[in-house]
């Protein structure tokens, strides 16, 4: 399975450039899928608006400081993917969007859903998004270590176009 990194040109702000991934065969990028699905659920709209406002504020004014993002406590060597989640919401846990924060200037927005369980890998809504976010995070980290991908300011640079493909 291949996931390709794409920039979201509409979400290229002064301080942060946002990217997303397209998983082969899905027909749309992960973040677009998240926006489309969540927008169609009226109960989620308020939280979705808060998440979007967060993305915009971080992008325009503050930069993607690590402390602005939450992540699960895991014992693996790599930190687990970050997530964005407003406090009040339709469930105890709220709407959650997984992302990979690469630097204060680059964030890869992925997917998410309404979390209904303490542990994301046991939540029927979030488990697959959490699993994908973990894989994407690892693969990007490997690609950077192997210098197939480079971070330059707000840009994710690659040696060749094929290097934007992550083999999951």
């Amino acid at each position: 399975m291949v996931a390709t990194i794409w920039s979201i040109s509409k979400l290229n702000y002064a301080k942060v450039a946002y990217y997303t991934v397209e998983v082969e065969g899905r027909g749309r990028t992960e973040f677009f899928d998240f926006q489309t699905r969540m927008k169609n659920v009226p109960e989620y709209l308020s939280q979705l608006g808060s998440i979007n406002q967060f993305i915009k504020e971080i992008g325009e004014k503050h930069g993607a400081h690590e402390l602005h993002f939450k992540h699960e406590r895991r014992s693996e060597a790599l930190p687990p993917p970050y997530f964005i989640q407003p406090e009040d919401g339709p469930s105890k846990y709220g709407l959650r969007l997984y992302c990979v924060r690469l630097s204060p200037s680059i964030v890869v927005l992925l997917n998410g859903d309404l979390k209904t369980h303490d542990y994301p890998d046991q939540c029927p809504n979030c488990a697959r998004h959490f699993a994908l976010a973990n894989k994407i995070s690892r693969k990007i980290d490997e690609a950077i270590k192997e210098r197939r991908l480079r971070l330059d300011g707000k840009n994710i640079e690659a040696e060749t176009n094929d290097d934007y493909d992550l083999f999951l």
Binding site: Q35, Q53, L67
Partner: protein
């Protein structure tokens, strides 16, 4: 073959924002501003999140929630934060104007005081009271300082008691 960029219209992002009540957007904005201000102060004071948690007698996870940008801070929490950090976290526009005005006033006062002191000290300098004299054409200057006892032109002076810091040199022929 180069991959084709997905044809997606992300105006959906702004459509969601347009439908979001203004107060909810302002809430996220203010919460992030406060969170960011706390982060700035932590960095300035080289304080870790854990250390702040210890000082406030809270769990680190609670501090982490504060900094995530969605926290509904109470005035009490902010007061405790300001007390522990020794720095203001929030201010109102009126307070900011008053503080700026006070700082400008203090700055101007300082400048005026410094200028007055400089003028006074220039008037009080002993050498400024010594009249300019030209006893002989070889005296190029008669600036004398009690402490240094510099001899400016040795040919015009009969004695130079340079080892006596209290002696005063005077040009001859005066």
């Amino acid at each position: 073959m180069q991959k084709k960029r997905p044809n997606e219209d992300f105006s959906i992002f702004d459509e969601v924002l347009d439908k979001t009540p203004e107060h909810e957007k302002i809430f996220v904005s203010r919460s992030l501003e406060i969170a960011n201000q706390i982060i700035i102060v932590l960095e300035q004071k080289a304080l870790l999140q854990k250390e702040l948690a210890d000082k406030l007698e809270k769990q680190e996870s609670e501090i982490s929630r504060w900094l995530s940008g969605f926290h509904n801070f109470t005035i009490k929490s902010i007061a405790k934060l300001e007390a522990v950090l020794g720095e203001r976290i929030i201010t109102t526009p009126n307070q900011a104007r008053t503080e700026l005005s006070n700082r400008i006033e203090a700055l101007v006062d300082d400048h005026i005081k410094t200028a007055i002191e400089r003028i006074r000290s220039e008037r009080n300098r002993p050498e400024s009271r010594v009249p300019t004299q030209t006893a002989s054409k070889t005296v190029t200057t008669n600036i004398v300082t009690p402490r240094s006892c510099k001899v400016v032109n040795i040919h015009d002076f009969k004695k130079a008691n340079i080892n006596n810091p209290d002696s005063h040199l005077r040009p001859t022929g005066t």
